[in-house]
Amino acid sequence: MKISVVITLKKDVLDPQGKVIHQTLDGMGFNDVNEVRQGKYFEIDTKEDNPKKAKNKVEEMCKKLLANLVIENYKIVDLK
Protein backbone atom coordinates (compact mmCIF):
# COMPACT_ATOMS: atom_id res chain seq x y z
CA MET A 1 0.00 0.00 0.00
CA LYS A 2 1.02 3.56 -0.57
CA ILE A 3 0.18 6.02 2.12
CA SER A 4 0.59 9.77 1.93
CA VAL A 5 1.04 11.90 5.01
CA VAL A 6 1.10 15.66 5.41
CA ILE A 7 2.75 17.25 8.44
CA THR A 8 1.92 20.84 9.27
CA LEU A 9 2.91 23.22 12.03
CA LYS A 10 0.25 23.80 14.67
CA LYS A 11 -1.65 27.09 14.48
CA ASP A 12 0.07 28.88 17.34
CA VAL A 13 3.61 27.95 16.22
CA LEU A 14 5.52 30.68 14.40
CA ASP A 15 6.44 29.67 10.84
CA PRO A 16 9.15 32.11 9.73
CA GLN A 17 9.69 30.28 6.43
CA GLY A 18 5.99 30.48 5.62
CA LYS A 19 6.10 34.21 6.41
CA VAL A 20 9.00 34.83 4.05
CA ILE A 21 7.28 32.83 1.29
CA HIS A 22 4.15 34.93 1.86
CA GLN A 23 6.15 38.17 1.61
CA THR A 24 7.84 36.97 -1.57
CA LEU A 25 4.52 35.99 -3.14
CA ASP A 26 3.23 39.43 -2.19
CA GLY A 27 6.25 41.04 -3.87
CA MET A 28 5.56 38.98 -7.00
CA GLY A 29 2.09 40.44 -7.25
CA PHE A 30 0.08 37.68 -5.54
CA ASN A 31 -1.51 40.22 -3.20
CA ASP A 32 -4.59 38.28 -2.16
CA VAL A 33 -2.75 35.72 -0.01
CA ASN A 34 -3.78 35.81 3.66
CA GLU A 35 -1.18 33.43 5.05
CA VAL A 36 1.31 30.73 4.01
CA ARG A 37 2.17 27.79 6.24
CA GLN A 38 4.95 25.44 5.17
CA GLY A 39 4.73 21.71 5.85
CA LYS A 40 6.16 18.32 4.91
CA TYR A 41 4.81 15.55 2.69
CA PHE A 42 5.72 11.86 2.89
CA GLU A 43 4.87 8.92 0.63
CA ILE A 44 5.26 5.64 2.43
CA ASP A 45 5.18 2.39 0.46
CA THR A 46 4.52 -0.47 2.87
CA LYS A 47 4.24 -4.26 2.50
CA GLU A 48 1.10 -4.17 4.64
CA ASP A 49 -1.96 -4.49 2.39
CA ASN A 50 -4.67 -4.27 5.02
CA PRO A 51 -5.72 -0.57 4.88
CA LYS A 52 -6.67 -0.37 8.56
CA LYS A 53 -3.45 -1.97 9.76
CA ALA A 54 -1.38 0.14 7.35
CA LYS A 55 -3.07 3.30 8.59
CA ASN A 56 -2.40 2.37 12.21
CA LYS A 57 1.26 1.65 11.49
CA VAL A 58 1.73 4.98 9.72
CA GLU A 59 0.03 6.81 12.58
CA GLU A 60 2.51 5.19 14.93
CA MET A 61 5.38 6.28 12.65
CA CYS A 62 4.03 9.83 12.72
CA LYS A 63 3.80 9.88 16.51
CA LYS A 64 7.23 8.33 17.05
CA LEU A 65 9.32 9.96 14.32
CA LEU A 66 7.76 11.80 11.41
CA ALA A 67 6.05 14.52 13.46
CA ASN A 68 6.99 16.27 16.68
CA LEU A 69 3.60 16.58 18.34
CA VAL A 70 4.66 19.58 20.44
CA ILE A 71 4.64 21.71 17.30
CA GLU A 72 3.25 19.63 14.46
CA ASN A 73 0.04 17.87 13.38
CA TYR A 74 -0.08 14.96 10.96
CA LYS A 75 -2.81 13.93 8.55
CA ILE A 76 -3.05 10.84 6.38
CA VAL A 77 -4.24 12.28 3.08
CA ASP A 78 -4.18 9.27 0.77
CA LEU A 79 -4.22 5.49 1.09
CA LYS A 80 -4.17 3.14 -1.91
Partner: protein
Protein backbone atom coordinates in the same frame (compact mmCIF):
# COMPACT_ATOMS: atom_id res chain seq x y z
CA UNK B 1 35.96 11.84 36.94
CA UNK B 2 34.96 9.95 33.81
CA UNK B 3 33.06 11.38 30.89
CA UNK B 4 31.86 10.11 27.53
CA UNK B 5 31.15 12.11 24.39
CA UNK B 6 28.81 10.53 21.86
CA UNK B 7 29.75 10.97 18.21
CA UNK B 8 26.92 10.81 15.68
CA UNK B 9 27.42 10.93 11.92
CA UNK B 10 27.58 14.69 11.34
CA UNK B 11 28.71 15.69 14.86
CA UNK B 12 31.44 18.31 14.56
CA UNK B 13 32.00 19.62 18.09
CA UNK B 14 32.77 16.21 19.57
CA UNK B 15 36.55 16.65 19.45
CA UNK B 16 36.33 20.21 20.83
CA UNK B 17 34.34 18.82 23.75
CA UNK B 18 36.90 16.03 24.22
CA UNK B 19 39.70 18.63 24.41
CA UNK B 20 37.72 20.77 26.85
CA UNK B 21 36.78 17.91 29.17
CA UNK B 22 40.36 16.61 29.28
CA UNK B 23 41.76 20.08 29.90
CA UNK B 24 39.75 20.32 33.12
CA UNK B 25 40.56 16.85 34.37
CA UNK B 26 37.94 14.48 32.97
CA UNK B 27 39.06 11.11 31.68
CA UNK B 28 37.04 11.22 28.50
CA UNK B 29 36.06 8.49 26.08
CA UNK B 30 34.53 8.92 22.65
CA UNK B 31 31.53 6.68 21.98
CA UNK B 32 30.16 5.89 18.51
CA UNK B 33 26.39 6.26 17.99
CA UNK B 34 26.07 2.67 16.78
CA UNK B 35 27.46 1.23 20.04
CA UNK B 36 24.94 -0.07 22.52
CA UNK B 37 26.80 0.17 25.82
CA UNK B 38 28.15 3.24 27.57
CA UNK B 39 31.51 3.15 29.32
CA UNK B 40 31.28 3.83 33.08
CA UNK B 41 30.77 7.59 33.20
CA UNK B 42 30.00 10.42 35.59
CA UNK B 43 28.93 12.64 32.71
CA UNK B 44 27.63 11.96 29.19
CA UNK B 45 27.86 14.74 26.61
CA UNK B 46 25.88 14.97 23.38
CA UNK B 47 27.98 17.38 21.30
CA UNK B 48 27.12 20.01 18.73
CA UNK B 49 27.06 19.53 14.98
CA UNK B 50 24.63 18.42 12.33
CA UNK B 51 23.80 14.83 13.22
CA UNK B 52 22.31 12.97 10.25
CA UNK B 53 22.52 16.16 8.21
CA UNK B 54 19.67 17.68 10.24
CA UNK B 55 17.30 15.54 8.14
CA UNK B 56 13.59 15.59 9.05
CA UNK B 57 14.07 17.74 12.18
CA UNK B 58 17.37 18.61 13.86
CA UNK B 59 18.25 15.82 16.28
CA UNK B 60 15.29 13.59 15.38
CA UNK B 61 17.30 10.78 13.76
CA UNK B 62 20.07 10.86 16.34
CA UNK B 63 17.51 10.59 19.14
CA UNK B 64 16.58 7.13 17.77
CA UNK B 65 20.14 5.83 17.34
CA UNK B 66 21.28 2.69 19.19
CA UNK B 67 23.39 4.35 21.89
CA UNK B 68 20.54 6.69 22.86
CA UNK B 69 18.64 3.87 24.56
CA UNK B 70 21.54 3.57 27.00
CA UNK B 71 21.82 7.36 27.33
CA UNK B 72 18.08 7.61 28.15
CA UNK B 73 18.38 4.82 30.75
CA UNK B 74 21.45 6.52 32.22
CA UNK B 75 19.58 9.84 32.47
CA UNK B 76 16.45 8.23 33.93
CA UNK B 77 18.53 6.61 36.63
CA UNK B 78 19.92 10.00 37.65
CA UNK B 79 23.09 10.16 35.51
CA UNK B 80 24.35 13.55 34.33
CA UNK B 81 23.67 14.13 30.63
CA UNK B 82 24.53 17.42 28.95
CA UNK B 83 23.51 18.28 25.39
CA UNK B 84 25.13 21.24 23.66
CA UNK B 85 23.56 22.84 20.57
CA UNK B 86 22.71 19.84 18.34
CA UNK B 87 22.99 17.80 21.53
CA UNK B 88 20.21 19.98 23.01
CA UNK B 89 18.13 19.35 19.87
CA UNK B 90 18.70 15.60 20.32
CA UNK B 91 17.65 15.83 23.99
CA UNK B 92 14.35 17.54 23.17
CA UNK B 93 13.65 14.89 20.53
CA UNK B 94 14.15 12.13 23.11
CA UNK B 95 11.75 13.91 25.46
CA UNK B 96 14.36 14.00 28.24
CA UNK B 97 13.90 17.77 28.36
CA UNK B 98 10.63 19.49 27.36
CA UNK B 99 9.98 21.71 24.33
CA UNK B 100 11.47 21.96 20.84
CA UNK B 101 14.00 24.09 18.97
CA UNK B 102 12.57 25.85 15.95
CA UNK B 103 14.23 27.70 13.09
CA UNK B 104 15.72 31.01 14.31
CA UNK B 105 13.16 33.81 14.20
CA UNK B 106 14.93 35.81 11.49
CA UNK B 107 15.98 32.73 9.50
CA UNK B 108 19.69 33.49 9.89
CA UNK B 109 22.43 31.12 10.97
CA UNK B 110 23.78 32.91 14.06
CA UNK B 111 27.45 32.59 14.99
CA UNK B 112 28.61 34.99 17.71
CA UNK B 113 29.45 35.45 21.37
CA UNK B 114 26.50 36.07 23.67
CA UNK B 115 25.91 36.45 27.40
CA UNK B 116 23.76 34.15 29.49
CA UNK B 117 22.42 34.60 32.99
CA UNK B 118 22.40 31.57 35.23
CA UNK B 119 18.84 31.16 36.43
CA UNK B 120 19.24 28.21 38.75
CA UNK B 121 22.29 27.16 40.77
CA UNK B 122 20.68 24.38 42.77
CA UNK B 123 22.11 21.67 40.52
CA UNK B 124 25.41 19.97 39.77
CA UNK B 125 26.05 22.07 36.67
CA UNK B 126 26.03 25.54 38.22
CA UNK B 127 26.20 24.97 41.98
CA UNK B 128 29.07 27.00 43.59
CA UNK B 129 29.71 29.05 40.46
CA UNK B 130 30.50 32.62 41.54
CA UNK B 131 29.48 34.33 38.32
CA UNK B 132 25.86 35.13 37.55
CA UNK B 133 26.59 35.97 33.92
CA UNK B 134 28.80 34.00 31.53
CA UNK B 135 29.97 34.80 28.02
CA UNK B 136 29.54 31.82 25.72
CA UNK B 137 29.45 31.26 21.98
CA UNK B 138 26.44 30.28 19.87
CA UNK B 139 26.42 28.86 16.34
CA UNK B 140 23.06 27.59 15.19
CA UNK B 141 20.21 27.77 12.73
CA UNK B 142 17.57 26.12 14.92
CA UNK B 143 17.91 27.49 18.44
CA UNK B 144 14.55 29.16 18.84
CA UNK B 145 13.26 27.48 21.99
CA UNK B 146 9.53 26.83 21.95
CA UNK B 147 7.12 25.00 24.21
CA UNK B 148 3.39 25.04 24.87
CA UNK B 149 1.89 27.37 27.49
CA UNK B 150 1.23 24.41 29.77
CA UNK B 151 4.82 23.19 29.37
CA UNK B 152 6.17 26.68 30.08
CA UNK B 153 4.17 26.88 33.29
CA UNK B 154 5.47 23.48 34.36
CA UNK B 155 9.06 24.41 33.44
CA UNK B 156 8.85 27.62 35.44
CA UNK B 157 7.07 26.02 38.40
CA UNK B 158 9.80 23.36 38.58
CA UNK B 159 12.59 25.93 38.09
CA UNK B 160 13.83 24.09 35.00
CA UNK B 161 15.13 27.17 33.17
CA UNK B 162 18.93 26.91 33.38
CA UNK B 163 20.15 29.98 31.49
CA UNK B 164 18.64 32.94 29.65
CA UNK B 165 20.15 35.18 26.96
CA UNK B 166 20.99 38.57 28.47
CA UNK B 167 23.39 41.51 28.20
CA UNK B 168 26.77 41.64 29.92
CA UNK B 169 25.12 42.88 33.12
CA UNK B 170 22.59 40.09 33.22
CA UNK B 171 19.63 42.09 31.97
CA UNK B 172 17.19 39.70 30.26
CA UNK B 173 15.38 41.63 27.54
CA UNK B 174 14.02 40.87 24.08
CA UNK B 175 16.80 42.91 22.42
CA UNK B 176 19.36 40.42 23.79
CA UNK B 177 17.40 37.45 22.45
CA UNK B 178 19.34 36.27 19.37
CA UNK B 179 16.90 33.72 17.97
CA UNK B 180 13.35 34.32 19.21
CA UNK B 181 13.39 31.81 22.07
CA UNK B 182 10.46 32.00 24.50
CA UNK B 183 11.50 34.12 27.51
CA UNK B 184 15.12 34.26 26.20
CA UNK B 185 15.60 30.62 27.20
CA UNK B 186 19.05 29.37 26.19
CA UNK B 187 19.13 26.19 28.25
CA UNK B 188 16.82 24.02 30.34
CA UNK B 189 16.97 21.10 32.74
CA UNK B 190 14.78 18.07 33.17
CA UNK B 191 12.71 18.08 36.36
CA UNK B 192 15.43 16.35 38.38
CA UNK B 193 18.17 18.75 37.06
CA UNK B 194 20.54 15.93 36.06
CA UNK B 195 19.92 16.54 32.34
CA UNK B 196 20.91 19.91 30.86
CA UNK B 197 20.32 21.03 27.28
CA UNK B 198 21.72 24.36 26.09
CA UNK B 199 22.39 26.07 22.78
CA UNK B 200 25.63 27.91 23.80
CA UNK B 201 29.00 26.17 23.46
CA UNK B 202 31.09 26.41 26.67
CA UNK B 203 33.76 24.26 25.00
CA UNK B 204 34.52 27.13 22.63
CA UNK B 205 35.46 29.44 25.52
CA UNK B 206 38.26 27.57 27.24
CA UNK B 207 41.24 29.58 26.08
CA UNK B 208 41.93 33.25 25.58
CA UNK B 209 43.50 32.35 22.22
CA UNK B 210 40.01 31.30 21.15
CA UNK B 211 37.33 33.75 22.17
CA UNK B 212 37.28 33.76 25.94
CA UNK B 213 37.65 31.92 29.22
CA UNK B 214 34.12 31.71 30.64
CA UNK B 215 33.84 28.11 29.48
CA UNK B 216 36.82 27.35 31.74
CA UNK B 217 34.83 28.70 34.71
CA UNK B 218 31.96 26.40 33.77
CA UNK B 219 34.05 23.22 33.31
CA UNK B 220 36.22 23.83 36.40
CA UNK B 221 33.11 24.26 38.48
CA UNK B 222 31.44 21.23 36.91
CA UNK B 223 34.26 18.80 37.66
CA UNK B 224 34.58 20.11 41.22
CA UNK B 225 30.85 19.57 41.75
CA UNK B 226 31.15 15.98 40.55
CA UNK B 227 34.14 15.08 42.73
Amino acid sequence: MKSSVITFPGSNCDRDMDVALKKFGFKNKMVWHDDTELPTSDLIVLPGGFSYGDYLRCGSMASKSKIMKSVINFANSGGMVMGICNGFQILVETGLVPGVLLRNKYLEFICKNIFVKINNKTNNYFNNIKNDVLEFHIAHNEGNYFCTKDQLKEIEDNEQVAINYCDENGKIEEQFNPNGSIKNIAGIFNKEKNVLGMMPHPERMIDNCLSGEDGSIFFNNLINNLK
